[in-house]
Amino acid sequence: MINRKTLGALVLLVLVMTAAAVWRLSHLFDWAHLPVGAGTRSGLYLFVPPLAMLLVIVVFQASGWLIAGPQEALEARRRWSAPVLIGSALILTVCTVIMIARSLGYGLGLNVSAVARAAVGIVGMLIIVQGNRVAKLPAVNSRISGVRPTPWQLSSTQRFVGWVCVGMGLSMLIAAALVPVPLMAPVIVTISFATMATIVWHSRKVLREASPHA
């Protein structure tokens, strides 16, 4: 569920990140020792951002294969997903550039914690902006599930998803400001799983309830 232009830009950014990682590794004496500040870490660490982005692209594309609906509805969803995907890819590219620059001895004075906090904060803001618009998206149906929700059930679920996404974004902003950097990853993973679990719980609840009629 990614439009062609966005997909092209994402693939390009993944290729740039991968090429930069390969180039840096080719200049290393030992792949297991990529200089990071005072210490070293595995050079394969450079492939984490492009792989993460590739995973996100696959998940979004797969979600597009699982839904069916009018062409305009699908196109609206593709347009909706574009800013989050491009924003995330740009953040990951900047992270890769910073990692490579630091391994070459540039930007060692850079406050990495501040960069990590800023990245989480920007992603949080993107989720808030996109979550706000979820209720406006035209409804689509699942291609694999036999359940056919009513327009009201779909609309109710989308409005709830919007609120939950805004909540997730706000939680990420708070985490970016207050949570210590080493705890940031587990906190964000917990927030993400809690968000998904809440959405699944609410969808099931709505589907079980009788749809109110006018």
Binding site: G131, V134, K136, P151, S155, A214
Partner: protein, 100 residues
Amino acid sequence: MNLVFKALSDPTRRQILQLLRKKPMNAGTIAEHFPVAKSTLSAHFAILREADLIEASKSGTVITYMLKASVLEEALLAFAETVGIGIPKQQTIFRKAKAR
């Protein structure tokens, strides 16, 4: 956004949105809640549709309206309702006294 603010500035339109938050309704059912002419109500629906706050689906002769507000718009709706935007001053004082 101007259209949204215009739509939310009227208490009748806000009440329509509050009704639609609970369930989708057809024009006739919504009209039962308001002592206004159907033509006035139609004008309200037109403004709400123009602001993309509601969605209308037609089946036969019945038009069913459904809420289509974003998170920010729902928050604005709650804010306008709390502050009492568009409600005459006397009515606001009465509402506050009633709430006490």
